[in-house]
Symmetry: C2
């Protein structure tokens, strides 16, 4: 009901713009249609990860500027084909989907990390946070002094110079043992529920899923504590993980991300803060950091 | 890695409490073990809905006090077996799972609502919000003047007397057409992602999933716009929906909910705000309304 009728209405309004209420907030589609080519960026293929699963491809953008040691180690693991044949080992509802070597905790059975490092200096925050681009959001945050976006990543700042990528839906983090230096990128997790912001500053963020979240979020939840699967057969096997840079250009997944310092992005944020149309009669007037999706597009299908 | 080792550690610490660091935050399990019987409430079976799906049972508590007209209409629909054979029609990633009559928008094919009403006065907020129990959270909110819990439901207040149940993970809302009065409870949705708080005050909240969210959140996302399934075969059929009150007592799902005005609930909130243990070294010191889970238990399995 809700949705089908609204969709029909949206189509009708789009077809007959002269009938649209002047007070109606533009839709994301309308705003994106007006974005200029310069407002879209093409991620560096050195930072783009293709993870192929039976259900399709997940594309992750590595946060090279925020966790360079982790990005480098993950690249090494990818290039040595560490991840090929690893599995989705844990899906905890409203929290995370985690993948890696199911025997990673057993030193005798664990897959070799090859030339990748076993431990890394923690990169949980940046002390030089002010050096990073920052497009601030207007409505504040429960957890941090200020929040906004930095080159597509959701970011928080403490007001004293420290900054970090926040755990929002789609954020990819580095699983680790209790020791802060034990995360090496061989096991990663993606956030699949309400942003668990209490993870912020306690784990390194490796990057963000920019395509394919609907694959990672829909796996059956595991029956063991913390969502581990009780039976090995429940684990989904990752067929391959590749860096876009290592894939012939013609075979890459075409993808562009809307710049978060662009006018169109600002307009999208404003439209979501104050959505007003035939359906939404009481705009929130506010927006939370993790409620904002950064649009991506397939540039070969420009509409 | 992360999780298994922590779990082992948690078990070890629990077994040897004298070795535990005094500064360690108690775990939810430790806090719940100390809850008194009076801190648990048994939901009124008139407000408890059992929705049976091929993957298991979803239990919803109706928000009788907040949307009595909708609760009454939903009870009528249930008692006349309206929902039996209806389907999950839409799963939109990071947003909602919606169920109802797939032909509900087609007047010629739509299932009869029986004696239930086709339209209802909107119950999007309560103007007499101050009359409701309210346990306030300490850290504020991006969207509303104050937030907290009321008899288990996450609630926001505008500081001027109006209050409403918020759209958090697991909140069940009443799908509707563009007209504010067109929601009648025959199609409902559950939130399966980051809390879409911009829905607050624009839709009636019918209640909250208190068991079985992991079923509703793991369905494949639909391929049509807004997550509608492209093929009828993708829809999951609901075998039956019953009120607990109409089920013989011996066949009911035993369930109790921790009182949100209890000392144990306050201690759980505080432990999550300031989690500090071998793994979490930088407590957030804050907590967002929709990051708090209200514990439920099976009273027949008291631990």
């Amino acid at each position: 009901m809700l949705a089908r009728t609204c969709l029909a209405l949206a189509i009708a309004l789009a077809a007959l713009p002269s009938l649209a209420d002047e007070a109606k907030t533009p839709t994301p589609k309308e705003l994106l249609a007006k974005a200029t080519p310069a407002e879209w960026r093409t991620p560096d293929p050195q930072n783009l990860v293709y993870m192929d699963l039976p259900q399709g491809r997940v594309v992750i953008e590595l946060a090279q500027e925020w966790s360079p040691l982790h990005a480098a180690n993950i690249r090494t693991l990818i290039r040595e084909h560490y991840f090929d044949g690893t599995q989705v080992i844990r899906v905890q509802d409203n929290f995370v989907t985690q993948w890696g070597d199911p025997d990673g905790d057993d030193k005798k059975k664990a897959k070799s990390l090859g030339t990748a490092k076993e431990t890394l200096a923690p990169e949980f925050t940046r002390k030089d946070g002010k050096a990073y681009p920052f497009t601030k959001l207007p409505d504040g945050d429960v957890y941090a002094a200020e929040v906004g976006f930095s080159d597509g990543f959701p970011v928080a700042r403490d007001g004293q110079g420290e900054a970090w990528i926040t755990h929002c839906y789609g954020t990819v983090g580095v699983a680790r043992d209790t020791g802060a230096e034990t995360g090496n990128g061989s096991s990663l997790y993606a956030i699949i529920g309400q942003a668990p912001r209490n993870l912020d500053r306690n784990l390194a963020v490796a990057g963000k899923v920019i395509k394919g979240m609907e694959i990672l979020s829909a796996y059956p939840r595991g029956g063991e504590p913390m969502g581990f699967y009780d039976k090995p057969a429940q684990r989904v096997t990752i067929s391959s993980v590749r860096l876009a840079a290592d894939v012939p250009e013609a075979q890459r997944t075409p993808i562009q991300v809307l710049r978060t310092d662009s006018k169109t992005f600002a307009a999208l944020v404003e439209a979501k803060r104050n959505r007003r149309d035939a359906f939404y009669t009481r705009p929130a007037g506010k927006i939370d950091l993790c409620n904002i999706n950064v649009p991506v597009r397939d540039p070969s299908k420009k509409s």
